[in-house]
């Protein structure tokens, strides 16, 4: 059990700066998911926390104690690697029990501890096998068993589900969450999969190019993205970005001008004449056959069962909308779109920043 703080972590490999002033504060027992595109420095950040890599500048604190001088083994962290890194020549039981080698416990106690973890992860029948004889999902569980048996201060996960198939990934997502409920431990979980971030996290850290773009609850990063990057990265299909200009109570959009609802006006105050980007989630575009407002052509229809995704072509952009499954649309149709501007995010087209800073705090303090 521990509180984890990163203060202004910077890391360079030679001339390339991989992490730039990354600060993050994870309270005891919180499950934080770090998400970002490939190469943004997520693994590097995790490895710095683990002590496998040294930061060029900045400090890692566990319970307010700097740990930079400690070796990975002294930090009392546990890590689950992407390829699991199970010891191939040891049995599952020996793999799980490896962290107890020097624990002051009797042999029977250690065996009981391994059995308890195996029971928790439902891998008891596998204890005498070698990792080579396990499926991906089973290896994943053994790797987690090896981590939890040590009762670490912090759990580190580096894309632990990326080698699993879709169904198993979904199952392991909820199992890892269940495990966290059963054994609440401060967790830093790295992934490039925004669905994992949204479904598992207490708080999400969105990274891009070695910097933190936003820290917030899944709802916050989804509905109040701080930057256009966060808006585009979170959410599937991607958010619609509509170029616009605010002028005298109206929004000039490509090929149309819309009145601005009274509720939205305060958010746009002071930005008249600026180039803006209106971020609208697909569920906030209403398709009106026949058409008024923005007119676009239906390009592609993707029924998913519970809903239908409609991709639309407009001369200035490509849009997507979420509709009920019983839609009567077909490709080639001209449709009008109604924009739920009350739900939109407005970004400065130049800086990419949300005009209204989201409620969450970038420095990572919990907003009470």
């Amino acid at each position: 059990m521990a509180k984890l703080d990163l203060s202004a972590i910077t890391k360079s490999f030679g001339a390339t700066r991989v992490l730039d002033q990354v600060s993050l504060s994870v309270p005891d027992r919180e499950f934080v998911v770090v998400v970002g595109p490939s190469g943004c420095g997520k693994s590097t950040l995790l490895r710095i926390v683990a002590g496998l890599e040294a930061a060029s500048a900045g400090e890692v604190l566990l319970d307010d104690r700097p740990v930079s001088q400690l070796s990975p083994g002294q930090r009392n962290v546990a890590m689950v690697f992407q390829n699991y890194a199970l010891y191939p020549h040891l049995t599952v039981a020996a793999n799980i029990g490896f962290g107890l080698r020097r624990a002051r416990m009797r042999r029977a106690e250690k065996r009981e501890a391994v059995a308890r973890v195996a029971r928790l992860l439902e891998i008891e029948p596998l204890l005498n096998r070698r990792p080579g004889a396990l499926s991906g999902g089973q290896r994943q569980r053994v790797a987690m068993g090896r981590a939890i048996i040590r009762n670490p201060a912090v759990f580190l996960f580096d894309e632990p589900l990326s080698n699993l198939d879709a169904r198993l990934r979904m199952q392991m997502r909820s199992e890892i969450r269940a495990l966290h409920r059963a054994v609440p431990t401060t967790t830093l979980y790295v992934t490039h999969d925004q669905i994992e971030a949204m479904t598992m996290a207490d708080r999400v850290v969105v990274m891009n190019g070695g910097r933190i773009e936003q820290i917030g609850t899944p709802t916050e990063v989804y509905s109040a993205p701080r930057t256009t990057f966060v808006a585009g990265f979170i959410g599937m299909p991607s958010i619609n970005m509509i170029p616009a200009r605010y002028r005298g109570d109206a929004l000039e959009l490509p090929s149309t001008t819309l009145p601005v609802p009274a509720a939205v006006k305060p958010r746009l105050a002071g930005h008249a004449g600026r180039d803006l980007l209106v971020g609208l989630r697909p569920e906030h575009l209403d398709i009106r056959p026949g058409g008024d407002g923005l007119v676009a052509e239906v390009d592609q229809i993707e029924p998913t069962g519970s809903e239908t995704l409609v991709y639309l072509d407009h001369p200035a952009m490509r849009l997507s909308a979420r509709t009920a499954p019983d839609t009567a649309l077909s490709p080639g149709m001209q449709v009008g779109l109604r924009l739920l501007l009350e739900r939109a995010s407005f970004f400065d087209a130049e800086t990419g920043l949300n005009l209204v800073p989201p409620p969450s705090n970038l420095t990572g303090e919990l907003t009470a």
Partner: protein, 314 residues
């Protein structure tokens, strides 16, 4: 066979005997045609000489004497020979010391190089090349080089160095007790490169994430070696041991150049003894019998080591 071979694989259903394939296709699906070339080569260049040597062992053949008669003398003379006892004892100590030394030193250098590479130190390529250079030198030249180094004459390099350091010179080659040690050192020096390269390659295939996991599990260096490195190296170590064992058992040129088997018979090992028997005493039959003994020893030890190799599950 040609017409099945030129057909794209995707079109050719496995193990069918289509109208066009016929006998050729049926043959190709069995192992025999594929093994035949190798069997023919091995039979001609390896098996035939071995059979010939077995035949010679049961004759009284002499090197320049074409008239031979079948005789058990060559074989039976070995049975009670006290010289052979000495030779076998020499062979045992020379082989064990050399093989263990080459593997241990090769492993140590390989670990060092890999470690240095992980720490991104410079010069690991140079180190590897230098070690490998020893392997390129012909064994006979290696023997001569070490003879110069060990030489007890005033120009002997090692003794000169010892003298400069204020240590009394050592009778490296003339003392029967030291001569074997010197032979082993010369052999290890040359053979280490081979082990090093083999084990280096095996070490490079170990997933570094395992060492990171071990670091997080607070494993000490010996634990990392014992639980990760060593089990991973086991097959490579065994293969290495087999190859080095055979090479060392058959090694005679280094010793020939270094000590010629002396002083007395102090460094005379089985291969050198067989060589001397044939080419100095011209006793071809007896030499062949000694070679047979060497072959049996090699095969037995190889078989024993092979048993230790991890078996693939069938």
């Amino acid at each position: 066979m040609t017409d099945t071979a030129t057909r794209p694989i995707a079109d050719a259903p496995p193990r069918t005997t289509g109208a066009r394939g016929g006998v050729a296709a049926r043959l190709a699906s069995g192992p025999l045609p594929w093994l035949l070339p190798a069997v023919a080569m091995l039979g001609l260049f390896y098996l035939y000489p071995v059979i010939e040597a077995v035949r010679l062992a049961f004759t009284d053949a002499r090197l320049f004497d074409t008239e031979t008669a079948f005789s058990m003398r060559s074989v039976s003379s070995l049975a009670g020979s006290s010289t052979l006892g000495t030779i076998l004892r020499n062979t045992l100590s020379y082989t064990v010391a050399s093989v263990v030394g080459q593997i241990a030193l090769g492993l140590a250098i390989a670990l060092l190089v890999v470690r240095a590479e992980r720490a991104r130190l410079r010069g690991t390529l140079v180190l590897r090349t230098i070690v490998l250079a020893a392997w390129v030198i012909p064994a006979i030249a290696n023997g001569i080089i070490w003879q110069l180094l060990f030489s007890e004459a005033p120009f002997g390099a090692i003794n000169s160095a010892l003298r400069m350091a204020g240590v009394a010179p050592v009778a490296w080659l003339s003392d029967p007790g030291n001569a074997m040690l010197s032979a082993v050192i010369a052999t290890i020096w040359q053979g280490t490169a081979y082990s090093m390269i083999l084990l280096y390659a095996a070490l490079k295939t170990i997933d570094t994430a395992l060492y990171e996991a071990a670091a997080i599990d607070a494993a000490r260096p010996w634990e990392r070696f014992w639980f990760i490195t060593l089990p991973h190296l086991r097959p490579a170590l065994l293969v290495n041991a087999i190859l080095i064992l055979i090479m060392t058992l058959n090694m005679f040129d280094t010793i020939l150049a270094l000590t010629g088997g002396g002083p007395g018979r102090a460094t005379e090992i089985l291969s050198l003894y067989a060589y001397g028997t044939v080419f100095q005493n011209f006793e071809l039959g007896r030499g062949a019998a000694l070679s047979m003994l060497l072959l049996v020893i090699s095969l037995t030890l190889t078989a024993l080591l092979t048993l230790l190799l991890p078996q693939e599950r069938r």
